[in-house]
C-alpha cells in the first residue's frame, strides 16, 4: 500500500498490573490507518479495543501502562513521549470521543465552555474568538441554535445532541485522527444513523482519519473501509470491509456474523457462540479462542497461531485459515 498513513501502530502492548497479576489487555497489536479512511476495530467487551484506543492517546490510568511497541502519527513516534509533549497532541492532533455522552461531559459546566476549553488549550486566541470557533463548529456538526446550546448544561440536552457536542469538542482543532469508542452504542437507532452520517461526512470533507471502535457489525458495514477484529487482546483477523463480510475466515468472526439477526432470513433459533471470554489473567497456552471454537484441534490448544496473509491484505490468526482458500 502506497497510501499515506496517518497512524501506524506496531506490536503495541499494554498491561494492567494488578494485585492478582499482569493483565495483558493489549497483546501485540499492529494496525495502520490510512489518511482520510475510516478503520474499524470490532470485538466484544473486554477484548482490548478500548485499551488500544486509550493507549494510542495516552490516557491509560494506573495500574494500566503501555509496555511496548511503536505508535507513529504521521511519522512522528508517540510512544515514549513525555506527558507534557503528549498533552499537546491530545485534543489537537488526535481526539477521542466516548460511549456515554451523558457521563462524558462535566455535569456542572456549560457545554459551550467545555468545548471552548478544547480550543483554548491548543491555540492562543482570546476567549471571545474561542467562543466564535465553538459556535462555528456547533453549526458544522449540525447543532441548531448554537448560541442557546452554548449556555446549556449537559442534562438539558438530548443524547444525540450531547454526542454532537462531544464530536464538536473533538473536531474543533481539526485533528488528523479521531478515535471514536462506541460512539453510538448509547443512542437510539435513528439518532445513531444521523451521528454515523455526520462522522462519515466530516471525514470525507476534512480528510480526517477515524478509528471506529464498536461491537456492532452493522455500524462497521455502514462506515468502515477496513476492519480489525480483536479477541482477548490480539488481532485475530483483518481485511477491508467487503472482503471481511464476504469471506470471514476466523471462526470467531464467522460466529459473530452468524449471530447477527437478519430480517431476510427465517431462522428458528438465534445463533450464539458458546462459552465465555477467557480470563485475561489465565490465558490458555494456545489460541485464546480454542475453548469456544467448533474447529479446535490439539494444535490450536497448545500452539499460539500467528497472523498470516491469505491475500490482498486479508490477515488471519488461525491454523485452519492456512488450509482454507
Amino acid at each position: 500500500m502506497n497510501e499515506q498513513l496517518t497512524l501506524s501502530i506496531e506490536h503495541l502492548r499494554s498491561s494492567f498490573f494488578t494485585l492478582r497479576g499482569e493483565v495483558k489487555a493489549v497483546n501485540d497489536v499492529s494496525l495502520a490507518v490510512p489518511k482520510g479512511k475510516i478503520v474499524g476495530i470490532v470485538g466484544e467487551s473486554g477484548c482490548g479495543k478500548s485499551m488500544t484506543a486509550k493507549s494510542i492517546i495516552g490516557i491509560l490510568k494506573y495500574p494500566g501502562r503501555v509496555v511496548g511497541g511503536s505508535i507513529r502519527l504521521d511519522g512522528q513516534e508517540l510512544a515514549g513521549l513525555s506527558d507534557r509533549a503528549m498533552r499537546q497532541i491530545r485534543g489537537r492532533d488526535i481526539s477521542m470521543i466516548f460511549q456515554e455522552p451523558m457521563t462524558s461531559l462535566n455535569p456542572v459546566v456549560k457545554v459551550g465552555k467545555q468545548v471552548q476549553e478544547a480550543v483554548l488549550l491548543h491555540r492562543s486566541i482570546t476567549s471571545a474568538e474561542a467562543r466564535q470557533e465553538v459556535l462555528k463548529i456547533f453549526r458544522t456538526v449540525g447543532i441548531s441554535e448554537p448560541e442557546k446550546r452554548y449556555d446549556s448544561y449537559p442534562f438539558q440536552l438530548s443524547g444525540g445532541l450531547r454526542q454532537r457536542v462531544m464530536i464538536a469538542m473533538a473536531m474543533i482543532c481539526r485533528p488528523k485522527l479521531l478515535i471514536a469508542d462506541e460512539p453510538t452504542t448509547a443512542l437510539d437507532v435513528t439518532i445513531e444513523a444521523q451521528i454515523l452520517k455526520l462522522m462519515k461526512d466530516l471525514s470525507r470533507n476534512t480528510g480526517m482519519s477515524i478509528i471506529l471502535i464498536t461491537h456492532n457489525l452493522g455500524v462497521i458495514a455502514e462506515l468502515c473501509d477496513f476492519v480489525y477484529v480483536m479477541y482477548a487482546g490480539k488481532i485475530v483477523e483483518q481485511a477491508d470491509t467487503i472482503t471481511l463480510f464476504d469471506h470471514p475466515l476466523h471462526p470467531y468472526m464467522q460466529g459473530l456474523m452468524a449471530s447477527v439477526i437478519r430480517l431476510d432470513r427465517d431462522v428458528e433459533r438465534l445463533q450464539t457462540i458458546p462459552g465465555v471470554v477467557p480470563n485475561l489473567l489465565h490465558l490458555p497456552a494456545g489460541c485464546a479462542f480454542s475453548n469456544r471454537c467448533p474447529y479446535a484441534s490439539d494444535e490450536c490448544r497448545t500452539q499460539p497461531p500467528v497472523l498470516h496473509d491469505v491475500g490482498s491484505g486479508h490477515l488471519v490468526r488461525c491454523f485452519r485459515g492456512e488450509d482454507d482458500k
Binding site: I59, F98, T103, F155, Q156
Partner: protein
C-alpha cells in the same frame, strides 16, 4: 431560583416555631414551682404567689407561649432569673465571642481539611495520604476537651507560646479555634478525599484528559467542582456540631460566649436565659443550613435549573 429560596425560608418558619415550642414545653414540665426554687423552701406562700404572678407563671401554658413568641418577634426574650438582666442583652454581649471562635474554628478546619483531603487523594496510598488520613482519624476520635487540654499543656504551659485561657486579643483564640476545629477538619478531610477519588473515576475526567488537560488542570477545572459538593453539605451539618463543641471550648478556655452562658443557665436553673440561648443557637443552625442550601444551588446547576 429566588422563588426556591423564598420557599425554603418559609419552610423554616414552622421549624423555628417547633423548636421554640419544644424548648418551652420541656422547660415547663419540671416538677416543682419555679418561684419556690428561686426563693428557697422556707418562704411564706404569699411571697411565692406574688413572685409567680410577677413572672407570669400562673397563666395557662399556651398564653405564656404566645406571649413569649410575640415578645421574641420584637426582640424581647425575657429577663434572666439569676442575673436580672434582659436575656437579649446577655445574648448580644456573648454572641460576638462565640462567632469569633466558631468562625475561626470553621476557617481553620475547612481550609486545612479540604487541602489535606485533596493532597491525600492525589497522592493516594503515598506517605502524604497515610499521614493526612492518620491525622484526620485522630481528629474524629479525640474528644474536644482532650485536644484542648493537650494543646493547653504543650503550647500554653510548656512552650508558653500562647495564653492559657481568656478571650483578649487574637492570640487567645488560636488554641480554642484549633481545639474546636480539630474534629471538623478530620471529617472534612476524609470526605474530601473519598469524594475526590470517586470523582476522578468519572468519564468526564477521561474526556478532559483526552482534550489535553494536565493533571492539575483536571483537578482544578473539573474534578473539584463536582467533588466538593458533598463536602459543602457536610460543612453545613457541621455548624451544629461546632456550636456544640463551642459549649465545651468556651468553658475550658473561659471565653464568655453563648455556650458558656448556656451552661451557666443550667447550673442556675435560669429558664429564660436557657430558652434564649438554645433558641438563639438553633436559629443560627437553621440559618446556616439555609445558606448552605443556597450555596449548593449556586454550585450545582442541576439543582438550580430543575423545577
Amino acid at each position: 431560583m429566588f422563588r426556591n429560596i423564598a420557599k425554603r425560608v418559609l419552610q423554616t418558619i414552622p421549624i423555628l416555631l417547633g423548636v421554640a415550642l419544644l424548648i418551652f414545653l420541656m422547660l415547663r414540665i419540671i416538677p416543682g414551682n419555679v418561684a419556690t426554687t428561686l426563693m428557697g423552701e422556707h418562704v411564706n406562700q404569699e411571697s411565692v404567689k406574688r413572685l409567680t404572678a410577677e413572672l407570669g407563671l400562673d397563666q395557662p401554658v399556651y398564653v405564656q407561649f404566645l406571649k413569649y413568641i410575640f415578645g421574641a418577634a420584637r426582640g424581647d426574650f425575657g429577663t434572666s432569673y439569676y442575673l436580672n438582666r434582659s436575656v437579649k442583652n446577655l445574648l448580644t454581649i456573648a454572641f460576638p465571642y462565640t462567632v469569633k471562635l466558631a468562625l475561626a474554628a470553621a476557617m481553620v478546619a475547612w481550609t486545612i481539611g479540604i487541602t489535606a483531603g485533596i493532597f491525600a487523594a492525589v497522592r493516594k496510598n503515598g506517605i502524604l495520604d497515610h499521614l493526612f488520613m492518620g491525622f484526620s482519624l485522630l481528629g474524629i476520635s479525640m474528644p474536644v476537651f482532650m485536644v484542648a487540654m493537650i494543646l493547653q499543656y504543650f503550647l500554653a504551659f510548656r512552650l508558653q507560646a500562647l495564653p492559657l485561657e481568656g478571650a483578649v486579643g487574637f492570640r487567645s483564640y488560636i488554641i480554642p479555634a484549633i481545639a474546636l476545629g480539630w474534629n471538623s477538619a478530620g471529617s472534612i478531610a476524609r470526605m474530601t478525599r473519598s469524594s475526590l477519588l470517586e470523582t476522578l473515576q468519572e468519564d468526564y475526567i477521561d474526556t478532559a484528559a483526552a482534550k489535553g488537560r494536565g493533571r492539575v488542570g483536571i483537578i482544578t477545572a473539573h474534578a473539584l467542582r463536582n467533588a466538593l459538593l458533598p463536602v459543602v453539605t457536610m460543612m453545613a451539618l457541621q455548624i451544629s456540631s461546632l456550636l456544640s463543641g463551642a459549649v465545651i471550648t468556651e468553658t475550658i478556655f473561659s471565653i464568655p460566649g453563648i455556650g458558656r452562658l448556656a451552661v451557666q443557665a443550667i447550673s442556675n436553673r435560669d429558664i429564660p436565659l436557657l430558652q434564649g440561648t438554645v433558641l438563639f443557637t438553633t436559629v443560627i443552625v437553621i440559618a446556616g443550613n439555609l445558606l448552605a442550601d443556597c450555596l449548593y444551588a449556586v454550585l450545582d446547576p442541576r439543582i438550580r435549573e430543575a423545577k
